[in-house]
Amino acid sequence: MILQRKLAILADAAKYDASCASSGTEKRHSVGGRGIGSTEGSGICHSYAPDGRCISLLKILLTNFCQYDCLYCVNRVTSNVPRARFSVDEVVQLTLDFYRRNCIEGLFLSSGIIRSPDYTMEQVVEVARVLREEHDFRGYIHLKTIPDAAPELLHKAGRYADRLSINVELPTVQGLESLAPEKDGAAIRRSMARLTVHIDEAKAQKAQAESAPTVSLPRARPARAAAPRFAPAGQSTQMIVGADATDDAAILASSAQLYGAYRLRRVYYSAFSPIPDASSSLPLVAPPLVREHRLYQADWLLRFYGFEASEIVAPAQGGMLALDVDPKLAWALAHRERFPVDLNTAPRELLWRVPGLGVRTVQQLLATRRVRRLRSDDLKRLRVPLRKVMPFVVLADHRPGRVLEAEDLKARLAPPPVQRSLFDA
């Protein structure tokens, strides 16, 4: 099979994984090395596909042959999609070629399970090893970890990769048991815990190595042992949304648990979308893209805005996030007694709860109000969405009046319905 055909098949097989981040790792560059590659903290999205997803990494499967029969998956054993398998060297060369063209930040490699979880993991790790050791590649590497693989292999993966991820796939253990019979939710959590321990250990050792004074003996080179590295960009996971009946409240509760227990960098939500040769037992409808978007917004509230998972979904809504307004606005509309908030006096945590104010905006408001009173002009300069913010805030020259009591406040704030064109599905 020619390379181009393989690439087509194995990119098709990989596209349902939402994660593409290339951020959060240590800073590296290729100065003084034999190869190419650098990472400078923030990730770079080198392109965007018409599905709105960024292309930052070469995201492919090593092979889409798979023994498992996960109903939601395009690569399940019972699907009739065309199959292919890359050699280790083919993946290495593709990564380096795309990298030289400046098309990617690095590689995101995953694989179907062939022969055994250990064999598969070994092959995946070997690609990373060849890139790092033989080509001195210093770009970003994200490896999908196979939960049932041996701990030594996970450990090795962490030495080469910037990020490791294990997909929980479905928000509940019951969902996983019914749709992915070969996957074991408990094993997935144990693997995540193991990665957490390694990542924390490496971090602690690095911090210690950096803070310890270097002791140098006479005539000896002052050197300190480099701290062992383990997935400096941490771990992430993905949940499929809409393949089973789990509601948003349960999804967010599950995410909160994962963030709390395993300090994940990200939980990705992937709207279940029709796949070629789909299983008859799953809903083949347009993917719930707005729901996916609302979940990401809610996830942000969890991580950066001091919201607890249990308060984001209003009880009146049957466990689901509102689709017509964003979750913060929905929360504010349901808790009008907490508003208006005086931007000149309210504590940070309360400012975070004002619809339309982001974490950075709040930072600047706090800095400014130390020297003078905030006025509406300040919000204009900050380019915040005034229509959304003004009903909820008090400023030196602004009071919202009785607008908070208005029955139709939500209708006034919700974005007007748009006539969608053929190209904006």
Partner: protein
């Protein structure tokens, strides 16, 4: 009096700095200065940039006449370095006005929402975005050269004067590669140094750039860049196939990859056809009838879980195998709610038939992650006591009264929560099964939860500590505090508490030193 300043180039930051200092020292107000740049300043062919001009140290200017404070916040310098790259001709006037105001209006530095500061910040953000997009959207194409490594050439059209500022990024990223970036205003070429260890470093003064030559030259045109090569087809294949036609979100794509960049991105030519076919392709997927699998590759992996013993199932005769079976059974235990949220169950560790069994409360955060008892902070404190008492951990068995970690999620942290009587009672039969396998002669109960589980009645630990109590079937239980009580205790009384705790534990020293039977 009107002043006119002509800077040496569009991005003459050093020139602007020294002129601004001079004007400021002479108290020339901003409205009296006109700032200019010569159009098409970079006339010289490929002039290597003098490093000394790239980064001048930010030394405070000595006060001239009228002892004024010239020190500006470091953040202002970072802002200036970015804003001078902006294409707006008014940028120098804005920066000088800001500088003037910073020196003359003390309050300005504390007011990030001032109109001038906001405008400058927006300009800085525009420059940063342009820098970022250039790092993202430059596309190199290899140009084969005879007797030389291929030269990777890109054509790009930035909005602002950013080529010099962005070049070091590409040097750091592609140090060993020969490359050039052509833009309408200026071009840059990187030639790495020959790998010759004897060669003296070319730019010893500049630690930020590796040996090699970075040359800047005049602007170019798109025709100077090479056309698509065969290898690019692979990239286009990847782009077409990583796209999911079932989820079209072209607004999002346009927001992050504005149309103005498309004509220099090879893959952008695919956007229109991919978008046009998407609805039809995804419709076909929805309508297609499910097919039956053409073949079954192998039987799926054996379901080990089906073999797990269920609560109440008979245990194997061999105690080791029995403990392993208990571990698997507790893993799936949902007799109380806490099991569903923990990572795993944590069972005891130690020799079978140990004379002494030490029972704690429940696994903590660390134990939950690692899957072993007594590895967290409280466990480490217990180990210290064991060492001080001269005991050996190989001689006794350690476990917990409750097998799963109970916690409360507070923000992004799991906070330990004492198990309720209901959870402890639900878990008791697991502890009893463990005891039945290990068959110790005596117990140490660390804390109230363990004491109640072992003795069979509520125990007031602070009152009854240091005593051997008798439990069901004549079980001998030494009562003492849980180590976490010492961790939480009053720091002033820590030494005293530690000594008392050791005294309690020492009562079991005879038994602790016994080898496990058989």
């Amino acid at each position: 009096m009107r002043h006119t300043v002509t800077l040496s180039s569009e991005t003459d930051w050093p020139g602007f700095r020294s002129e601004a200092r001079r004007l400021l020292a002479h108290l020339v107000p901003p409205e009296d200065v006109a700032w200019h740049t010569p159009a098409g300043a970079a006339e010289d062919l490929f002039v290597p940039i003098a490093d000394s001009e790239q980064k001048r140290p930010a030394a405070p200017v000595p006060p001239a006449q009228g002892a004024m404070n010239f020190v500006v916040p470091p953040a202002f310098l970072t802002l200036c370095e970015k804003v001078v790259l902006h294409q707006d001709p008014a940028r120098f006037a804005l920066l000088y006005r800001l500088l003037w105001r910073l020196v003359h209006e003390r309050a300005l530095r504390h007011d990030p929402l001032d109109a001038d500061r906001t405008r400058a910040r927006h300009m800085m953000q525009a420059v940063r975005r342009d820098l970022h997009k250039m790092k993202a959207f430059v596309r190199f194409r290899p140009l084969e050269r005879e007797g030389e490594p291929p030269l990777h050439v890109a054509w790009f059209e930035p909005d602002h004067h950013i080529v010099e500022a962005v070049a070091p990024f590409f040097v750091r990223r592609f140090t060993a590669m020969h490359w050039a970036i052509l833009t309408p205003e200026c071009s840059v070429q990187w030639t790495p140094a020959q790998a010759d260890p004897t060669a003296a470093p070319q730019k010893a003064s500049d630690a930020s750039l590796p040996p090699g030559e970075l040359r800047f030259g005049p602007g170019a045109s798109r025709a100077d860049a090479p056309p698509a090569d065969a290898g690019e087809a692979l990239w286009l294949t990847y782009y077409a196939h990583i796209f999911n036609p079932a989820r079209l979100k072209t607004d999002m794509m346009r927001k992050e990859m504005p149309v103005k960049y498309w004509h220099n991105l090879p893959e952008a030519a695919l956007i229109a056809p991919l978008t046009a076919q998407a609805t039809e392709r995804s419709g076909r997927m929805v309508e297609a009838a499910p097919t039956s699998p053409a073949r079954r590759i192998v039987q799926p992996v054996q379901q080990a879980r089906a073999l797990d013993p269920h609560p109440g199932a008979a245990l194997p005769d061999d105690p080791k195998a029995a403990l392993a079976a208990l571990k698997r059974a507790t893993e799936r235990c949902r007799e109380c709610p806490i099991g569903a949220h923990a990572t795993q169950s944590v069972m005891g560790e130690g020799p079978i038939h140990a004379a002494l069994m030490v029972v704690g409360e429940q696994p903590g955060e660390q134990e939950d992650l690692v899957g072993r008892p007594f590895v967290g902070p409280a466990g480490q404190l217990f180990n210290r006591a064991v060492a001080e008492l001269g005991w050996s951990r190989e001689h006794f068995f350690v476990t917990n009264a409750v097998k799963h970690f109970k916690f409360e999620l507070r923000g992004k942290r799991r906070i330990h929560k004492t198990p309720g009587q209901r959870e402890a009672a639900a878990c008791l039969h697991w502890l009893e099964s463990e005891i039945a396998q290990v068959r110790p002669r005596a117990f140490i109960a660390l804390g109230a939860t363990a004491a109640r589980a072992l003795v069979g009645r509520p125990v007031a630990v602070t009152a009854e500590r240091g005593q051997w109590l008798e439990g069901p079937q004549g079980r001998r239980v030494l009562i003492t505090l849980h180590p976490s009580a010492l961790l939480r205790g009053d720091p002033a009384e820590r030494d005293e508490a530690w000594r008392a705790w050791l005294e309690d534990l020492a009562q079991a020293s005879d038994i602790a030193s016994l080898e496990a039977a058989r």
